[in-house]
């Protein structure tokens, strides 16, 4: 299921975790890695000037500059590129989220792997408010894996997957991805739902009733789709959803969290912080996959 992995990287240390996971997966599962770099964000109308994504400086992209960026990427990821059978470097200029989506489509990638934050000062954000990840996660046809914390990248392969559901349509796609991954990679799978009681004072009996209802709903919704797959269990915990997702992942020593992404909100002020997915990504001790489309699961 992972034949081609698009590693979207600025080449900066903040993306090294994502790179480690992408190459490790490629090595384990025989995938091709496309190291994809948007080297500059267009500026100044139709002129040839772009803001370099690393330095923020204005530069003019020509063959020489392109070659230099490729060389930099090659030396940054030298050992990793050597460790896999197929890898190539692709560079371009443009608005990063848009170009990542374009490349994933052109390459027919099975998975996009990227870091979660390029920092506020980065040229990625300059003049283009909104997070690259949000935009990519919303529109990508394939699952998007994010590795934010350095510690999230030191797992070797996958053995325990936590799939967290909110019972949305997209969660069904995310479930299919989680199940297929668990099957193919021989993992344990936890089907999890966090009962949101944040900011509410609820009667304990009511909470427990809801937990039972949610457990049943998981069983009814996903049980029939399990086929002969047996290595799964069901959990429902009450609390603040992102906290509970991170907690169960820690408790199960999960090396992969799978979530659905279905925020329509692209307004950067509203979308960038606050969603469960974003909070999980920031806090999780393992890679997080978000799925919003059924195409590549």
């Amino acid at each position: 299921m992972f034949k081609k992995i698009l590693l979207a990287t600025s080449g900066a240390p903040s993306t090294f975790g994502a790179a480690r996971v992408a190459f490790d997966m490629a090595k384990r599962y025989g995938a091709e890695v496309v190291v994809f770099n948007v080297m500059g964000v267009p500026t100044k109308a139709f002129s040839q000037v772009v803001n370099d994504v690393r330095t923020g400086e204005e530069i003019e992209v020509d063959d020489e500059y392109r070659a230099w960026v490729e060389e930099e990427l090659k030396s940054t990821f030298e050992k990793q590129i050597e460790s896999v059978e197929y890898a190539k470097i692709v560079t371009t200029t443009g608005v990063p989220s848009r170009e990542i989506l374009r490349a994933a489509r052109a390459e027919d990638a099975d998975l996009i792997v990227m870091g979660a934050s390029s920092g506020d000062s980065s040229a990625y954000r300059k003049g283009y408010p909104g997070s690259t990840l949000q935009r990519v996660a919303k529109a990508a046809r394939c699952p998007v894996m994010t590795v934010h914390r350095e510690t999230a990248s030191y797992w070797g392969g996958f053995g325990n997957i936590v799939f967290a559901t909110d019972f949305s349509k997209q969660a069904e796609y995310a479930f299919r991805f989680a199940l297929n991954a668990a099957r193919e990679l021989d993992c344990d799978l936890t089907l999890f739902h966090a009962l949101d009681i944040s900011g509410k004072v609820m009667d304990q009996n009511a909470i427990e009733d809801k937990i039972i209802t949610a457990r049943n709903r998981i069983r009814e919704t996903y049980g029939p789709l399990m086929g002969d797959f047996k290595n799964f269990d069901i959990e429902v915990w009450e609390g603040v959803p992102y906290v509970e997702v991170v907690k169960i992942a820690r408790e199960r020593s999960a090396d992969l969290i799978v979530l659905a992404h279905h925020s329509r909100e692209l307004d950067p002020d509203l979308a960038s912080i606050g969603s469960t997915m974003e909070q999980v990504i920031l806090r999780a001790g393992c890679p997080v996959v978000s799925v919003s489309k059924p195409d590549k699961v």
């Binding site: 267009p42 100044k44 109308a45 139709f46 002129s47 040839q48 989506l101 003049g127 046809r141 349509k169």
Partner: protein, 463 residues
Amino acid sequence: MPEGKFCNKTPINTEEQLKATLGDKGGKQYYEEMNHLDVDSDKLWAAIQKTMKSRTKTWLEICAHCGLCAESCFLYQVNGRVPEQVPSYKIQSTLGVMVKKKGKVDNEFMQMCMETAWSKCTCCNRCGMYCPHGIDMGVMFGYLRGLLYSQGFVPWELKIGSGMHRVYRAQMDVTTEDWVETCEWMAEENEEDWPGLEIPVDKVGADIMYTCNAREPKHYPEDIAEAAILFHVAGENWTVPSEGWEQTSLSMFAGDWECCKDNVLNVYAALERLKPKRAIGTECGHAHRATVIEGPYWAGRPDGQPPVPYIHYVEWLAEALRTGKLKIDPAKRIKEPVTLQDSCNYVRNQGLKNVTREIISYIVEPGYFVEMAPNREHNYCCGGGGGFNGIGLYREQRNVALRKKMEQILDTGAKLVIAPCHNCWDAIRDLEEEYKIGIRWSFLKPLVIKMLDVPEHLRPTEE
């Protein structure tokens, strides 16, 4: 040395030439070569005799040098009010002298003309409204640019820009395949949120043929998606042409007249081929000027009109909101101080001032819209018009030019600026980057989509 490798009197006509010129980083060699470029005085004088018509002759002749145009020019205002920035001086000392000397001018003079034509005038045409004789220096600078281009004295980026149009028939390297592919991609990307959404290519006999700006497929394809969403929700029968979709004209900024004509004929050919009832262009000012206002004359159309009625996006949007094809959810209207940038090219030059304000009346909660001062046809250029935004050589001058718009925006107190024009949008973005005054800026499409009251049958099914 008469003709340089990059800087010469020959337009860029092949991809190879284009790439080679692009490879000359920042136009370093190009501008060096320009220092040695000969002026073909005979050709220049012949061109003037052939193309300078009575209006321009009269204007040059009757200018009383009264200086009433001075204050009308934002570049005069932001550049210390020096006499060299008075519009009448600017045109008399360039085109005026060129004509008086019957084209017998030297390289140094031509370079001075180039600097004046592209860094001291954005062809915003505001001066023409304040001249007691109605002399429009902007129009004359447009003409002067043509003369300069024909002699090879044109900023590097604009030589490339018109070359792009000549090679790709688009201002950027977007091929027909790229364009059609992008339309498919955008339909695919949005079909889930907007069930039934299509971007029909080359549909014959549609009510609307839509044209856009090559920047959209190249860098911001969501703009095309947004246009599609709004047509879809409004229930329009529309299409885009596979050829002739690019409405802009950097050749107009460059003064490449031959290419201007070719651009517009390409769009008109699509209209003849697809026979739509009318055409609508994207939120771009100069594209509208090129295709709708000036284009018919370039194309030699006797009625001075495009082959079918051709309206600006704001006209369609106002109509769709007025007739109820698009409905706004009143609860989602803008409820913060917001201002509006009038694009010179379709407000001052075509009078669409009330149309944009009608749109504002639907999408902004009463009491929150703050006009810039001055506004409508009296508004100032964004600071980057006429190609100014894209010329590296004049970056500093352009940044100074942005100050007028910055002051106007600051005076409104608004943090959101609606800019229904690609060029204005760019200038305002650069303004924020340069001066960091803490504003946001937007086209109309994304704002309207956010506040639409979408009919039940067009909403995605929730599970």
